[in-house]
């Protein structure tokens, strides 16, 4: 019965369309999205919000998707108007806080895209959290959701 419920939850969630939320443990992952990419682009990025207002300290360890050769966790450092993108090993999810992956900051980076990311499409992305465990979210390809 519990298993059936677990299977039903994603179906119910995706029913809401763009305003998708995905729960794992005490974490809620909101509005995963990615910008469409030009046909020649080798790289892409995905963003979402992680609400950890109910949980304990956690961290994102890695992400997996089959849309590209590599999937990495990245951030941006800014010095004046210079943007410096850097790979990071983990992304901290402190207890009681909401962490936003957004343009110009933290993102999931896709390197060696198999195909362009096309507006309106979706793809599954697995997020591996240290404590909450793994969760598959559905990334909507389009513009930044207003809800953010």
């Amino acid at each position: 019965m519990k298993r059936l419920l677990l299977l039903l939850i994603p179906a119910l969630i995706s029913f809401q369309g763009f305003a998708a939320e995905f729960a794992v443990g005490d974490l809620v992952i909101k509005h995963p999205w990615a910008r469409p990419t030009p046909p020649v682009a080798d790289a892409g990025a995905a963003y979402f919000i992680v609400d950890n207002s109910r949980g304990a300290d956690d961290r994102l360890l890695s992400a997996e998707a089959d849309i590209s050769q590599r999937v990495e966790l990245h951030t941006h450092l800014m010095e004046g108007d210079v943007m410096m993108m850097r790979k990071v090993d983990t992304i901290e999810m402190p207890a009681g806080q909401t962490v936003a992956l957004q343009p110009g900051g933290l993102h999931i980076m896709f390197i060696g895209l198999q195909a362009p990311l096309v507006e309106g499409d979706r793809f599954p992305l697995t997020l591996n959290f240290e404590k909450a465990g793994a969760v598959i979210v559905e990334v909507a390809i389009g513009q930044q959701p207003n809800a953010q």
Binding site: T37, P38, P39, V40, D42, A43, A45, M83, M85, H107
Partner: protein
């Protein structure tokens, strides 16, 4: 005694500040007041030094391409998944807003790739056209890219691949360079601003330029 002197000094400072503030507030702004933009307005405008790159169609990209029109230059690279698409998408909104009012004919947006090892002319063509078919792209020899970037204070740095990685990243300025129809540097737009602000700033720059022509 000391307190009295201090009070006089403080009152003096306060009245000077108030005077400047009131003056700004009440004196009529002259037509040639410099626009207050999100970034740096260059006054007087600065001559653009020679450079020789190649555009998205394989044609020369040099001073002649900037003549008698407004040019907005953005420095980036197509491997960039975040800042460059974000900026180009915003510049597309900006250009479309100008187009809606018929103000886009003399405004060209250029993406200058600082990563010629990965970005060819054909690649730039497809990349920029994805955001707006009217946008141009250009790149070339490192020396010539530097000639262009350095005179605008545009910084970039190409990194070596990280151990075990088959790609490399590039740090780069997110500034948008505004060149006026006399082929002179007129402004450097910085900071993440809304499309509204971008249109406002550009229109203010253009109006100021028009007003000061004689």
């Amino acid at each position: 005694m000391l307190n009295k002197q201090l009070l006089i000094i403080v009152l003096g400072v306060v009245s000077v500040v108030a005077g400047v503030w009131l003056g700004r507030y009440f004196l009529p702004q002259t037509e040639t007041a410099e626009p207050e933009i999100n970034g740096i307005y260059i006054s007087p405008s600065r001559k653009v030094a020679d450079f020789e790159l190649t555009n998205q169609s394989g044609q020369p990209f040099n001073q002649a391409a900037l003549k008698e029109r407004w040019s907005l230059l953005f420095f980036g690279y197509t491997f960039c998944p975040d800042v460059c698409p974000t900026t180009l998408a915003q510049l597309n909104q900006f250009h479309s807003r100008l187009a809606a009012e018929g103000l886009d004919e003399d405004v060209t947006v250029w993406m200058i790739s600082v990563d010629p090892a990965r970005d060819t002319a054909e690649r730039l063509k497809e990349y920029t056209a994805f955001f707006n078919p009217k946008f141009g792209g250009a790149t070339g020899d490192r020396e010539e890219i530097d000639k262009l970037a350095q005179q605008f204070g545009v910084y970039y740095k190409i990194h070596d691949p990280e151990p075990g990685a088959d790609y490399y990243l590039v740090d780069h300025s997110s500034a948008v360079i505004v060149i006026n129809p006399d082929t002179r540097l007129q402004a450097v737009l910085t900071g993440t601003s809304s499309t509204d602000r971008l249109v406002e700033d550009f229109q203010a720059i253009r109006q100021h330029y028009d007003a000061t022509q004689s």
